[in-house]
């Protein structure tokens, strides 16, 4: 088990190997389909991508007593062609679910970033690790808006590492 605190450094990335459990604490950002499309040409970014962690999620609305509603990962493959642009600008970790294209994996290794998965469909469980949430960009997108989250020991697994290992192939 590896504990990481944001922002993520290259030293952190080098420690991550496929299948390992990772607990992330600090600040992470949410972005999924529509936010990724908009971010491609965004000139007025409201957060620092250098060392950043992006979580592919569209949460349910929060009741008053929680920071955010159900917050499990969405399928990552839909962001495959949109992620390299962000990795080029410093994005270090992506959290989602499911496998991704070979092209994505190659780009990820080139940019020395890592892809993590969280348990899909465990939105209530994962929500309990989110302590604060606020919308920072694209409020009009509702669930798809970009949110800044404060997380404590947010649980993930390494799915692809920079050494070319792949959790989906290595375990079959």
């Amino acid at each position: 088990m590896i504990n990481l605190t944001t922002p993520i450094t290259l030293e952190d990335i080098k420690r991550l190997k496929v299948g390992e459990k990772v607990l992330i604490s600090g600040t992470i950002y949410t972005a999924r389909d529509q936010a990724h499309i908009r971010l491609q040409n965004e000139e007025n970014l409201k957060f620092d991508l250098e060392g950043a962690v992006i979580f592919y999620v569209g949460p349910t609305p929060a009741r008053d007593n929680v920071a955010l509603g159900a917050s499990g990962p969405t399928s990552s493959y839909r962001m495959d062609d949109l992620a390299p642009n962000l990795m080029k600008r410093g994005l270090k970790l992506m959290i989602g679910k499911g496998d991704r294209s070979d092209k994505f994996i190659q780009e990820m290794i080139n940019y020395q970033s890592v892809y993590l998965i969280a348990t899909g469909g465990a939105g209530a469980l994962l929500s309990s690790r989110i302590k604060k949430s606020r919308v920072i960009m694209y409020e009009d997108l509702g669930a798809e808006a970009i949110r800044e989250l404060q997380v404590e020991e947010f649980p993930c697994f390494v799915a692809y590492d920079i050494y070319g290992n792949n959790i989906f192939k290595d375990n079959k």
Binding site: V66, G69, A70, G72, A143, A159
Partner: protein, 279 residues
């Protein structure tokens, strides 16, 4: 004739969409517990454990099971002696609107394939109506997630491809989907009819009880064979490998044209949220 007020229908839909988004069926929880016990791979076992812990948290009623609270799918069987005092579809959509607001559920519907503006209330529901004999009104209600739906398909096989062709299509589809539909999955299969009928059969198959079997012996055999063979694929929970790829296989069938063998595969994630209400 028996009169039904639209507000009764609205109430049923509202209460149902909230209930299913916070509570899994006991039969599904039991199946997940068995899967966890039988899972030989430790990382996969821990994922099944997460899924079980998740439903414990969700059933307290504060945070839904999954952030994808789905599109609402309703199959309505309307007895011929029922007289609805208003518009059925309006009443159902009103139930969706109220349920998704009061239940703090995500609004996941956009209005147009390319403009993609959120409708803000999770309407419209996808509604299938059927007129049947009798004086009851029956609703089969599901909240269907997008991730597993995206991995579903319809294929027109030739009659000569037969049972083996169906098996190969199902196994290939599930293997290729990998972790994307959130395995362990439930597989709904529609065989026969035509293009659209097969898809409806597959969807309705997913709304069957997890513990039941087809009453046709050939189809039951195919359900059992596929259940075993899918779990041998090694896709595993979330696609990371293991013994648990599917929790159930449900096949519905219908007569078809001499030229055709339509097959629809509708994949359901482990968070199978559906219920039935009859009034």
């Amino acid at each position: 004739m028996r009169n039904i007020e639209p507000k009764q229908i609205t109430e049923i839909i509202k209460n149902s969409v909230i209930k299913i988004n916070y509570n899994l069926d006991n039969s599904l929880v039991k199946r997940l517990q068995e899967a966890k016990q039988n899972e030989s791979k430790s990382l996969s076992k821990s994922i099944l454990d997460d899924i079980l812990k998740n439903q414990e948290i969700a059933k307290k009623g504060n945070v839904p099971l999954c952030q994808d609270t789905g599109v609402v799918v309703v199959f309505v069987e309307i007895g011929q002696k029922i007289n609805i005092l208003g518009d059925l579809e309006t009443a159902i959509n009103e139930g969706v609107r109220q349920g998704y607001k009061e239940g703090y559920l995500r609004k996941s519907i956009v209005d147009h394939p390319f403009k993609r503006t959120n409708t803000q209330d999770n309407t419209p529901a996808i509604i299938h109506q059927r007129l049947v004999p009798g004086n009851t009104l029956k609703f089969k209600i599901a909240a269907k997630g997008g991730g597993s739906e995206n991995m579903s398909l319809v294929k027109m096989l030739t009659p000569a491809e037969g049972k083996e062709g169906v098996k190969k299509l199902v196994l290939d589809t599930i293997f290729n989907a990998g972790g994307k539909p959130c395995p362990p999955i439930i597989v709904g299969i529609g065989i026969g009819g035509n293009l659209e009928k097969s898809a409806l059969l597959a969807k309705e198959a997913l709304l069957r009880e997890l513990d039941d079997s087809s009453d046709d012996s050939d189809i039951k055999q195919l359900e059992d064979d596929l259940y075993r063979e899918i779990n041998k694929l090694g896709v595993g929970p979330m696609g990371i490998g293991g013994d648990t790829t599917c929790l159930g296989v449900k096949i519905n069938y219908f007569p078809m044209h001499i030229a055709s063998l339509p097959v629809a595969i509708n994949i359901q994630c482990h968070s199978s949220r559906h219920t039935e209400v009859t009034i």
